[in-house]
């Protein structure tokens, strides 16, 4: 499989990944292990919270967004990992049964000053539902390997 290098990433390009439907079972499975609060575990208890009903843990949403980005973008790119997330916004509850789509935009990219073998790409990842309504939005940096002359002979 040919994977994309830093040089192949185009600023402003947008890729769409999904849809992928989130189930009640996976919401409860994540919450039971990592975020056992009533609004992520129990429909009845969740009605009395700010969320107004069962919804995924925000950190579960981060994990799902990453998995979708991995399957549709990162696994086909020479990724050297990520130093972190600049900003994450949880905009609306992520409910069971929603068909989720992830839009990945390459905001910009630059070469690394200290590491000639890699560059840095800033990504905007937007999670939307079936109607296109944004549920979550994230800006992150991905380290991407460069196609060095030695490796393209």
């Amino acid at each position: 499989m040919t994977r994309r290098h830093f040089e192949d990433l185009v600023e402003g390009s947008v890729e769409t990944i999904g849809p992928r439907t989130i189930t009640r079972e996976e919401i409860i499975a994540y919450a039971s292990e990592y975020d056992p609060q009533p609004m992520h575990l129990d429909e009845e208890a969740a009605k009395h919270t700010m969320l107004g009903g069962l919804a995924a843990s925000g950190w579960h949403t981060c994990c799902l967004m990453f998995r979708m980005a991995y399957d549709g973008f990162i696994s086909t790119t020479v990724s050297l990992g990520s130093p972190g997330i600049d900003e994450m916004k949880w905009l609306k509850p992520v409910r069971a049964g929603t068909a989720l789509t992830l839009r990945v935009t390459v905001i910009d990219k630059r070469e690394s000053k200290s590491r000639p073998d890699m560059g840095l790409a800033r990504l905007l990842c937007e999670l939307v539902d079936e109607t296109g309504t944004p549920l979550a939005q994230q800006t992150s940096t991905l380290l991407v390997g460069r196609r060095l002359p030695e490796t393209t002979r």
């Binding site: 990592y34 919270t49 700010m50 950190w59 994990c63 991995y70 972190g84 900003e87």
Partner: protein, 152 residues
């Protein structure tokens, strides 16, 4: 009851230690982050990490696990809380290897009232996790809604 007004800048809470086992690392990663250095010891040994490391989202999820425990322990005294609009400046600074222990804590750095929802405020905290060598391995600035005194 602890309301928004009762929170002071500099309030600090120790969330506790957590040891990442190889089993836990692989189980989490197989579901959310199946990169070879998170799911396969042999592949991890050949990677630039040199050994099995936890997914960054695993490190973040364990923060939530410890935070949820802290909230549950204070359920009787805390006003309505738990929801967050997001976070900023999350950094994975050191790899977390199988067997490493991270100790998480949270310190209030600022707070403000919500113009749009006068019964709520928002509290911002700097969350950190140090490894067993005392190195900062993980940090972010989190935020959480907290009810204001006198809210319905």
């Amino acid at each position: 009851m602890i309301f928004f007004e009762d929170i002071a800048i500099g309030d600090r809470r120790e969330l506790g230690p957590y040891t990442f086992t190889a089993e836990d690392i692989k189980q989490f990663a197989s579901r959310y982050d199946p990169q070879p250095f998170h799911i396969d010891e042999a592949a991890a040994a050949r990677s630039h990490f040199g050994g099995l490391v936890a997914s960054g989202w695993h490190t973040a999820s364990i923060f939530m696990k410890l935070q949820a425990r802290a909230i549950a322990e204070r359920r009787q005294e805390l006003a309505h809380t738990g929801l967050s609009p997001g976070f900023r400046n999350l950094r994975w600074l050191k790899p977390v290897f199988a067997g490493d222990t991270l100790t998480y804590s949270s310190e209030v750095v600022r707070k403000r009232e919500l113009a749009s929802r006068p019964d709520w405020g928002i509290v911002f905290s700097h969350v950190t996790a140090l490894n067993q060598r005392g190195e900062l391995a993980f940090e972010f600035e989190g935020s959480v809604f907290l009810a204001r005194r006198g809210a319905g």
